[in-house]
């Protein structure tokens, strides 16, 4: 934790240096650069409230982004502060029996309750990021950046690099990107991770979990006509290390859901993910109304495959205001090792999986999800804009203990340029 705080401080200093350096360079610039000095700052701030029903998870998210736009590129600095609280499903079956014990999720307190299927928690997450976009030549743009994130049980450091090449007619853009993420995962109470598939009543703490992720993306965007842009991305993500959730558990229970024991989550130590993403952006003829339609096909080697369709329609009310309805549809197949619970044999002994992998995390279950939303945007002046958004998320799970999750998302954003 202390190490990451130092990294955060160092990153803050680096960001300030990056933001200041171009300004100094400009002061000593030539007449040409003085002419090209279209210096624009933009500040984008936002507050989001995410609230799940049944007093599950609530998140308050504050985001601030500062962009400095120049002829030769842009520098973006962003900060995120999340406060999270509520009762998160642990994966354990619902029970009135005190036989099982589940310790609480991140930053939480143990609760004297007979039902261990949910656990209360509070946590705070801070994230700091910088992105630099640099025009290498009229046709080549290099983008690179980094993100650090810190919470009571998770530290993450990510860097990314991408190169975009425009065709000579400027109608086609090819993009190649690479990202690398280093994550440290541990329980906030022990500082370590539990033994995978270890009995929660006989804890054997392991050291903190480490995970490295490499993300590669190839994309092409093409202007099809004067009203339409199409985009196609292919991405591959490989991760290695600790992938289990140190707070999730899985119950071993008989046919009547009587819990015999609870075991810690156990997932593979690697994951390979691939996706194809396509998007169309189109302005309706003779109007200024626009459509954003996207589709993603995803597959990984855990057995999860998913499809996501997303449609946004921006309806301009006048020159200053717009309304944007949004619908998102998602469905996924369950991970191969997902189980609602472990079974027991005739002697009431838990039947453990032969490959040592089992998780009852509802997010790895087969699920379908629908989001409906509406956004309103208004230009308050030439350079200031207010955006308000309300969305409703509804998820249905195939076999998870809590077979439904719904959430209301409210967001207010204000941006100003100067």
């Amino acid at each position: 934790m202390g190490r990451l705080r130092q990294q955060l401080s160092a990153a803050s200093c680096a960001l300030l240096a990056v933001a200041v350096a171009p300004a100094n360079a400009e002061q000593s610039g030539t007449a040409t650069s003085q002419l090209a000095k279209a210096r624009i700052w933009e500040v984008d701030t936002s507050y989001l409230s995410y609230r799940e029903s049944d007093q599950r998870v609530s998140v308050g998210k504050a985001v601030a982004t500062l962009v400095r736009d120049r002829e030769s590129g842009a520098v973006t600095v962003s900060a995120v502060h999340d406060t999270m609280s509520g009762a998160s499903p642990t994966g354990a079956l619902r029970s009135d029996s005190p036989a099982s014990t589940v310790t609480s999720v991140s930053g939480g307190n143990s609760r004297n309750s007979l039902d261990y299927s949910r656990s209360e928690f509070t946590d705070t997450r801070r994230q700091l990021g910088v992105g630099i976009e640099q025009e290498l030549s009229p046709r080549y743009t290099l983008s690179y950046g980094g993100v650090v994130s810190d919470e009571s049980d998770y530290e993450s450091l990510g860097i990314n690099l991408s190169l975009a090449r425009e065709s000579s007619d400027r109608l086609t853009t090819l993009t190649a990107g690479l990202g690398w993420i280093d994550d440290s995962i541990y329980r906030s109470d022990t500082g370590g991770t539990p033994e995978p598939l270890g009995n929660v009543q006989r804890p054997r703490p392991f050291s903190e979990g480490k995970r490295q992720t490499v993300d590669a993306l190839l994309g092409i965007s093409r202007v099809l006509n004067r009203l339409t842009v199409a985009q196609l991305n292919v991405s591959l993500t490989a991760s290695d290390g600790y992938h289990s959730d140190p707070y999730k558990v899985i119950s071993a229970a008989d046919d009547d859901d009587r819990i015999v024991a609870n075991f810690h989550d156990s997932r593979p130590d690697s994951r390979l993910r691939g996706s194809v993403f396509g998007k169309l952006v189109h302005q309706l003829r003779d109007t200024q109304h626009s459509l954003h339609l996207s589709y993603r096909l995803y597959q990984d080697d855990w057995g999860i495959s998913s499809q996501t369709a997303d449609l946004r329609y921006r309806h301009r009310l006048d020159g200053q205001q717009y309304l944007e309805p949004h619908v998102r549809l998602y469905r996924q197949r369950a991970a191969d090792f997902y189980q609602r619970n472990l079974t027991v044999d005739e002697g009431s002994n838990p039947v453990m999986p032969e490959d040592g992998l089992a998780s009852a995390d509802y997010r790895l279950d087969a699920l379908s999800s629908v989001t409906l939303g509406l956004k309103y945007g208004v230009k308050l002046s030439r350079d200031a804009e207010l955006r308000l958004r309300a969305e409703y998320l509804d998820q249905h799970f195939s076999t998870a203990v809590f077979d439904r999750n719904s959430a209301v998302i409210l967001q207010a954003s204000f941006s100003i340029g100067f």
């Binding site: 991140s106 990314n160 006509n225 996706s275």
Partner: protein
């Protein structure tokens, strides 16, 4: 699969079909969207006025995109595909 889950599966398919039908109806309803979308023509620099607008960019609200990616990353089993990924989280 339980009866309840079959009903949900059916509801989801109905919604998907309704959206697909909506797109087809729009296409046939005089808007000719599909024709306009897939009518590939050369675009001269002076014809790109609409394409230069903020709302016509493939990512037109980077902050919202990042926030949504984070929400769905923490509530679904799959993620990624739009941009190179940033930092992770221990989302409960």
């Amino acid at each position: 699969m339980s009866r309840q889950n079959r009903i949900r599966e059916g509801s989801f398919r109905t919604l998907l079909t309704a959206v697909a039908l909506g797109v087809v109806m729009l296409s046939l309803g005089g808007c000719s969207i599909t024709h306009d979308v897939f009518d590939v023509t050369e675009v001269k620099p002076w014809q790109r006025g609409a394409l230069a607008r903020d709302d016509m960019q493939v990512i037109n609200d980077a902050m919202e995109q990042a926030i949504d990616d984070h929400i769905y990353f923490s509530r679904e089993g799959s993620t990624g595909g739009v941009v190179v990924q940033g930092g992770g989280c221990g989302c409960n």
